[in-house]
Each structure stands twice: as C-alpha cells, then as structure tokens.
C-alpha cells in the first residue's frame, strides 16, 4: 500500500530508509533518535527528502527523479503528533471540523457522530484544549485526524506523553480505530507492548536505517 524509499541528511545523521507496508497497521519500531519521526514527517510532506520516492497506492506523493512533491496540505494524510498539537484558540468541535473544512469536504454528520462516539469525546465538544487532560487531548487529536477522511494515518508516539494509566485507557480506542476506520496506519513507537496490541507488521529502524522488516517476532529480538 505505502511504499517508501527515501534518503535525507539531517546534520550528522544520514537517513536511508526503504520499506513497503503490507497489513493495515505497520509499526516503525526503534530506539529514540533513530530517525523514525523524520521518516514519518517525510511521508506527511513536512520534511523534504534529498532523494527517493514515496507512493501511496497508485498515487505518487514524492519522486525526486520525476520532480514530484505533493505539498502536505494536498496529501490527505492524517497525522497524530506526540503532543497532540490541538489548536488552542479553537474549541474541541472546531478542532474536529478543521480538517474537513480545510480539505473542502462536505459535512458528514453520521461519520462525525460515529467517530465522536468511538472516541467517547461527546462531552468535550464545547471545551478548549487548555481544559482537557492529556488523554482527552490525544483522543481529540485522533478524531481530528480521522475526520478529514485520510488515506493513511500516521501516529507518532501518540501515547508517549501519557502516564501508564492513561495509556491503558487509550489503547482500546486505538484498537477499535484500527478495526473500524478502515484507514491504514503507520504507528511509530519504541514500546514493544503498544505495538503488540496494535500492529501486524514491524519495520525496525536503527541509526537511520531499516535493520529488519517482518512480523511481530522482531519485537522479541529487540527486547532481549
């Protein structure tokens, strides 16, 4: 579905990553500083690779040889950031509708209600992000990314800023999201436990390179 083959020099770090996703949820797994977030930013269009190609299905998003570089706002790729990045000056409802409006999609109340119910954020709609807990904020961020009807969902350590109890609270929502939304996911984490719950394919990244790619058995190798 998603095929990535990119090179990028960032300071002293050289990133050269190549992989293709197979299942509905793929983990980018590896230690902090391995370059996982940079890879995800390149997929989203926030960081321009020096060389390479990124294709989502039949759509080429980036191809240095063919001089194709679709700007981030036209890629239709949902992105959930580690710190949520909700817009502080908008209510939860305005945050949720932002992507749909900016992408020029018609209002779809059934879909909105479904996702609001799925994430259990119906009681938060009139609040502003400053008045939400960390877990609530991340749930709204999932909803905001999903409601733009993305072709792919990027989740960059979405639970990293939460304590253990909040993580356990959110993991089931993520699992439901994966099963019910039909949107393929890239899940970035250095936590084997989260990946085990959510993903079927693992791409292990170390020092800017793909060390291994395969099934969940790769997590065990890394754990010992």
């Amino acid at each position: 579905m998603l095929a990535v083959d990119v090179e990028k020099k960032l300071g002293s770090v050289q990133i050269a990553v190549r992989f293709a996703t197979t299942g509905s949820a793929t983990a980018l797994f590896g230690p902090s500083g391995a370059g996982k977030t940079s890879v995800v930013n390149m997929i989203a269009g926030l960081l321009k690779p020096d060389r390479g190609r990124i294709a989502l299905g039949d759509t080429v998003l980036f191809d240095s040889a063919a001089r194709i570089d679709v700007p981030a706002h036209r890629r239709r790729i949902g992105y959930v950031f580690q710190e949520g990045r909700l817009f502080p000056h908008m209510t939860v409802a305005q945050n949720l509708d932002y992507g749909r409006r900016m992408s020029g999609l018609p209002a779809d109340d059934t879909e909105r209600e479904r996702i609001v119910a799925l994430l259990n954020i119906g009681g938060l709609l009139t609040r502003r992000p400053g008045h939400l807990s960390g877990g609530e904020r991340q749930r709204v961020a999932f909803g905001r990314a999903l409601l733009m009807k993305p072709r792919l969902l990027l989740l960059d350590e979405p639970l990293a800023s939460l304590d253990r109890a909040r993580k356990l609270e959110i993991l089931p929502y993520l699992a439901r999201l994966r099963d019910e939304s039909q949107v393929p996911m890239i899940y970035v984490s250095h936590q084997a436990g989260e990946i085990q719950r959510l993903c079927s394919q693992v791409v292990r990244i170390e020092d800017g390179r793909v060390e291994a790619s395969g099934g969940l058995e790769l997590l065990g190798e890394a754990a010992h």
């Binding site: 269009g45 926030l46 981030a72 992105y79 950031f81 990045r85 900016m102 992408s103 400053g130 990314a145």
Partner: protein, 230 residues
Amino acid sequence: MFSLTPEEWTAVELSLRIALVATFVALPFGLAVAWLLARKDFWGKALLDGIVHLPLVLPPVVTGYLLLVTFGRRGLVGSFLADIGIVFSFRWTGAALACGIMGFPLLVRAIRLSFEAIDRRLEDAASTLGANRLWTFFTVTLPLALPGVIAGMVLCFAKALGEFGATITFVSNIPGETQTISAAIYTFTQIPGGDAAAFRLVAIAVVIALFALIASEWFARRAGMRYHGD
C-alpha cells in the same frame, strides 16, 4: 473651562482621524513585513529591518523632510502622484502618511515578536489537515498572534496621536487640515493667553491615551483567555 472651542474640537477630531487611518492603513503592510522578518531568510533582510526601524532612531524632522522631498508636489513620487490626483503635501492624508511611517516600526516590532513566539508545529499540523499556507496564516497564525497585533496597533495609534516633528515638517500646521492635538498645543503655548486652551487639549490627549491603553489591555486579555478556555 472644559468646553472646547470649535477650533479645538477640530484638532481633536482630526487627530483621531489621522491616527486611526494611519494605524489601519499601516496594518496590512505591518503584517506582511513582520511575517517576512519573522519567517523568511532572504538577501537584504538586515537592510529591510534597518529601513523599517529608521523612523524610530532618526530625528522626526529628518523623516518629515525626507517625506517632503519624496511626496511633496515637486517630489520624486509626489509629482507623479499629483498627476493622477493624489496629493499628500499640506493635506490631512499627508499627516496620516507621516504618522503611519513613524508608528510603523512599533507596529512591526510587536507583530514580529508575536509571530516568532508561535509554535510552528501548530502550523505544520494545520497543513497536514489540508490547510494551504494562506489558510494556515488566517486560521492559525493570525489568531494566535492577535494579542501582539493588538498591542502593535495601540502603540502605532499612540505614536500617531503624539507625532509632531515629522508631521509639522511635512504638512505644516494648518488649522482644520493638518493641525493635530500636538500641533495645536504647540501653537497655543506660543500665543499670549493660550494656556487654558493648551491645558484642555493636554487633558484630552491624556484621556485618549489612557483609554487606548485600557482598551488594548482588555482586548489582549480576551484574546489570551481564549487559549485557556472560557
């Protein structure tokens, strides 16, 4: 003692009009220049920054004289504009131009600082949600910079209200056309028995300035509150 003569009213009304027009006409330019300085690296950036700040450090008389040479009827730009019917010299529009230029560095400075303080990752988030750069600016950057924009506008307005040297050099001191509060106060202090009139205008200048400060504080507080709920 506190009833104003028609001449004094005219000066007050003219000052407000000039300061408001100067501030609102300067605003779009101020936003553009502040954005360029905060977000872009380009050849001649230091020069642009310097030129913008020049009116702040030059003697106002020098700025006024340069405006006269440039925008006067026989000036470089002025003679061209006069041909198409736009005249600045000795008109209230010229006073607004002078005031706008004098207030511009204060406006740009405040807006630039607030642009630089914005978390740019929020703008990245907006672009992944489908917002192009223009929409990102109007839906994320500008609303988040609002307290700074308001502060800059108040500073520019206050500067325009108090501007004296550049204005009087460029457009002179014509009652009803270019005689602002400051120029009127100056005139009244030069004539015997003008103290009472000067004092009334001084009191009005203080009231307007205080009102502008309180209003801007209120607006900025309201804008700031929106980030934390309520």
